[in-house]
């Protein structure tokens, strides 16, 4: 982030990108700086590409918040059907996890109120 709060480069942090790249490789593998920079540019551009399409669909429907369905629809529109299928499964798992954590929070709250 820049000093005035705007991120002009629109790039993901390179350390996180390198960690994700490393997770798909054996432990003794090494990644050059150029490879990290290249993947950083590609990933950031892909995110802007898909988000732009999703944002345009939201604008047409007079909505301001981009939801998971909007992203999935954008991927289908752009021809990334395979990615959309995988992300649909991930979205379902994420929502289940959210529901589980919410129920745990309610349980903790009820337990704390019980002694009173």
């Amino acid at each position: 982030m820049s000093a005035d709060g705007l991120d002009y480069t629109n790039l993901l942090p390179i350390a996180n990108v390198a960690r994700i790249m490393k997770s798909a490789l054996p432990e003794n593998a090494k990644i050059s700086k150029e490879a990290k920079d290249c993947v950083q540019d590609c990933v950031s551009e892909f995110i802007s590409f898909v988000t732009g399409e999703a944002s345009e669909q939201c604008t047409q429907e007079k909505r301001k918040t981009i939801t998971g369905e909007d992203v999935l629809l954008a991927l289908n529109t752009l021809g990334f059907e395979n990615y959309a299928e995988v992300l649909k499964i991930s979205l379902t798992k994420y929502r289940e996890q959210q529901a589980r954590s919410a129920s745990m929070k309610e349980t903790k709250q009820s337990r704390s109120e019980e002694p009173q």
Partner: protein, 334 residues
């Protein structure tokens, strides 16, 4: 232009054609904005981090000191304060020792180590000088100086302070015979104080100022005058210089709050000394940003657009000199 004439182009997924053109426009707009901003780019990203880095003590060459070294320096200062603690005269001597420490901290760590011996040498002439010098204004001024010495800003202003101390060293030389008669340092002290003189000389030469060159000449004079007692005279000159510096400040201010005035002078001089410290700011900038280097440039507009990554070779179009737009998933083949 003939629309059916073959032209050089890049085949892409027809579904992505519209979005690719929009992304090109967005990248061009972002590039223009970046071009305007880079001309006024700041040397650092976060103001608070910059201030924190400027407060950290630095060693020779401008690198930050490690936590171990910082703790050692603080323990040494605490030991010196405990050794000098006691009567009022000793407190004055401790304050003067703090003033004498300022050039040592900036010059080198070895000098800071030898400063301990210099302080022990200072304690001997102070037993005589304190009997003739004990005015209240000087005590208050020197007492207020001690917290200012602890800040790194005072270290930045050390070139000016050292010049004044060395200039007043000439005044101390007039009392050379008295110091020589009253003080005689042991052999180990003589051995350890000499490197301090050499490092001070080299540091003065590196400053490149007229005051520095004048002080260098005076320091060399001290060395050449007497071989056996030069180490004893050098701490004495620091002691006298410190007193003169404090008395000068107290005399010039003539105010009910000499401490505040002294602090104000230090802050002003610290601001003035910010310019020669600029290379270290760049070093600090690099240190702060190394863990997360995100200053990479944005892809230029001429970069190759993303290809059909999914491998589905559906209807595609030529990007280049095409004039008619795409209609969803339907496209005209060349």
């Amino acid at each position: 232009m003939n629309p059916y004439e073959p032209v050089e182009g890049l085949y892409v997924n027809a579904k992505q054609y519209h979005r690719i053109l929009k992304r090109r426009e967005a990248r061009a707009k972002l590039e223009e904005r970046l071009r305007g901003v880079q001309t006024t780019k700041k040397p650092y990203l976060h103001e608070s981090r910059h201030k924190h880095a400027m407060r950290r003590p630095r060693g020779p060459g401008g690198r930050f000191l490690t936590a171990d070294k910082v703790s050692k320096l603080r323990a040494q200062e605490a030991a010196e304060a405990a050794a000098n603690g006691g009567s009022t005269g000793d407190d004055v001597n401790a304050t003067n020792a703090n003033d004498a420490t300022v050039p040592a901290t900036v010059s080198s760590e070895v000098t800071h180590t030898s400063e301990g011996y210099a302080d022990s040498n200072d304690s001997r002439p102070s037993s005589i000088s304190n009997s003739s010098e004990s005015p209240a204004p000087i005590n208050s001024a020197t007492a207020s100086m001690s917290p200012a010495n602890n800040t790194s800003g005072n270290n930045i202003t050390s070139p000016n302070v050292r010049g004044e101390l060395d200039m007043s060293g000439n005044i101390a030389m007039s009392g050379g015979p008295t110091n020589t008669a009253s003080t005689s340092g042991p052999v180990p002290h003589d051995m350890t104080v000499l490197p301090q003189t050499d490092s001070n000389t080299s540091n003065l030469m590196s400053s490149g100022s007229q005051l520095g060159s004048f002080a260098t000449a005076s320091t060399n004079g001290n060395n050449s005058t007497t071989t056996t007692t030069s180490s004893a005279a050098h701490p004495g000159s620091f002691h006298k210089g410190t007193n003169d510096y404090s008395s000068t400040l107290a005399g010039n201010e003539h105010s009910a709050f000499p401490g505040l005035d002294v602090y104000h002078d230090d802050s002003v001089s610290a601001g003035a000394a910010f310019i020669p410290h600029n290379p270290m700011d760049s070093i600090d900038h690099l240190d702060v940003n190394d863990p997360t280097a995100t200053g990479l440039p944005v892809l230029p507009a001429s970069d190759i657009d993303p290809l059909n990554l999914t491998g589905n070779t559906q209807d595609s179009m030529i990007i280049g000199q095409q004039t008619y737009p795409s209609h969803g998933s339907s496209g005209t083949m060349k």
